[in-house]
Each structure stands twice: as C-alpha cells, then as structure tokens.
Symmetry: C3
Subunit: 139 residues, 3 copies
C-alpha cells in the first residue's frame, strides 16, 4: 500500500463552478495506482467542492443562480459583513455543499459515472486562487 | 492491509429515500475485515446518498417533501429543462446532499449509530437503477 | 500502514456550532502518523459535522440563524413531530450538512487551511452528548 499527496491550485474569476477533473485525472494516472481511494480536500471556508454534470453547461449556471437565491446578499440578514455582502453568503453556500470528496480508484482511474465532473464551487465575487489537497492511497 | 471493491445497484421508483443498509452490511461482513474504512460513492448527478433515521418512516417522507419545496419544479426558474421539470431540481437536490459517504469499520461492522440507516436519495420522477460503488480498506 | 480508532464525545447546550478542533488535533498528534487520512463520523441524525471559519465567531452565529430559517419549527409542515417542533428541522439540517468528513494528514498534522475549524453542528434545543468516531490510517 502506497500513499501520494499533491496540491492543486484552481484560479477562479467570481462565483461559479470550475471544472478541474482533467487535472486530477492526470495526477492520479501518473501515480500508477491500480486500486485505491482518492480524497480531495479544499482548504477554504468560502469555496467548496461538488460533483456535477459535465455535459450541459446550463446545469452549472443554474446551480450557481440557485445558490445565489437561497443565500441572499443582504447585509441586514447577517452579523458577519466585514468583507462585503458576498462574505456570509459564501460561508453558507460552503456549508450547504462539500469541503471534501472521496472517490474510489479502480483499474487506475477514478470511478466517476459517465456524466460526473469535479468542480471547485467559488462563492466569492472577486478572483481567488483556491488550494485543493489530493491524497491517494492504494496499490 | 487489504482492499475490496463492489458495486451495488439500487432500483428506485420515483423521488424518495431507499434504504440499502442491509445490502451494504452483508457485503462488509463477507469481506472479513475487522478494522478499516468503507467508502460509498454514487455514480450519478441526479441521485445522492444520505444517512438518516431508520426508525420512523415519517422522517424520510418529510425529508422528501422538504427537498421538493426548496428546489421547485418550475421550468421558468431554470435554463436546463431538456429532460422535464424534475431535471434541474434533481441536480440541485444532489448538490445539497452527498455523492459520497465514508464510514469507519470497527469489530467487523460499520460504526453506524443506533438510528442511522444508509439511503439512496432518488431525485427523479421515473424509475432508475442507481449504481453505488463500495470500497473497503482494512485488515 | 497502521490504523487507529478513537471516540470523541462532544457536549452540546442547544442549537449551534461547537468547535472541537483542538481535541482532534491532540489525538492525531499522539498517534505519531506522519502521512495519512483522518475520517470523522458522527453517529447521529439530528447533529452533524461541518468545517467553517474559526476566526470571527459571528460566522457560526449567522450560520445557526440561517439554518433556523430554512428549516422552520412549525409542526404543521411535518408528519414527524413526536419529539417536538425542533425534531424534524434537526433531521433536515443534518441532511443539508455532513455526517462525515475526511481530512488528509501531512507532516503529522491535519491539512486544514488557516481559517478552518472542525465543528459539531447541534440541531436540537436541549443538551446532548454527541459521539464522533475518529479513524486514522497512515504511516
């Protein structure tokens, strides 16, 4: 049994979902692990991870719109407003989605379904560099 | 340290929560792992996984109703409507719940609490077969 | 590769987020694992886990308020009301957050970002003792 660690940096340009499946696939492939478990962990509380459809780009636009509606940018609703109206909604959106994802690896590849892609879900309005830690365990 | 992979297929008959705890328990038991980590991963973006109460069936009926209300079936709200009014709400409901669950295994069994059951949460109206990948690592 | 199991009990005094990062850190440190994967699993369906900001305490107060609003305590909305008005909202709040978290361990420490803390999110009004199972795998 062997372990590998890696850090992926994803550049974001405002709220929305950023596909980074290919970058993770390439790294997993280079580790030459046939069978194991991959874990992705994002080191932030105002951006998150999600697995969603990779076919119709309208899905991720609609998702971003939906999260804009359920966590409104209205400073009167929150105590924590120091970084602007998108600050507390970003924490809420993060809590409603995932900070971590684990994916089985079989035959040297992530066991994703046909339509599944890996996304960083950015919840802040200004550009950020988001750090995702990858951990692969297997043989 | 040994690893095992398995695929469970769960048949669904419309929106709702489908208990598949027993099937997972049986497989874990057959692997004869005393101590380890079990990961469940659903290969879809319109059905998800959740751990919820296994005692009063009203809980899972209320949960299903709740998710019907927070992600309304109204095509005017979404761009992605190609597969019908339950299509985009299904992606939203998936994003608000889990695609993956990991559960420690101790004394040969999943370390579930007394009232915890494993559910596939179906978010589409028509019947589906949902594929869940199981990965067990331990000794 | 070695494995460790532990159980942490977190005492709660009503709805809100309870930071237990230090207690987890201490245990991980004592295991003397340099590189590996830590999994936290809460054995309840009316309390959950989340990773959120550990700097401004207003963030977790706002989060608790938000979850109070999206899952209202109104018995007319639910079938499952046997344990009081906070019963079914607690199950909903649990389903919208996490029952399990996995965190890579590098250089002997959890790979948390600077502002990330580990919280038990209590969703019931009366005090509880919540059991979180820890599993650490590594070398």
């Amino acid at each position: 049994m062997r372990q590998f660690h890696h850090e992926v940096s994803v550049s974001t340009r405002g709220k929305g979902l950023y596909d980074f499946t290919r970058e993770v696939e390439r790294w997993v492939s280079g580790c030459e692990i046939t069978s194991g478990l991959l874990t992705l962990f994002i080191q932030h509380t105002s951006a998150s991870l999600t697995i969603q459809e990779n076919a119709d780009p309208d899905v991720i636009l609609d998702l971003n719109d939906y999260f804009g509606k359920i966590a409104p940018e209205d400073n009167r609703l929150y105590r924590h407003t120091v970084e602007g109206p998108d600050d507390m909604p970003a924490h809420i959106r993060t809590t409603l989605t995932q900070t971590q994802l684990s994916i089985p690896v079989t035959r040297g590849r992530m066991a994703l379904g046909t339509w599944q892609g890996l996304y960083v879900f950015e919840h802040r309005s200004v550009p950020h560099r988001r750090s995702v830690i990858l951990h692969l365990l297997g043989e």
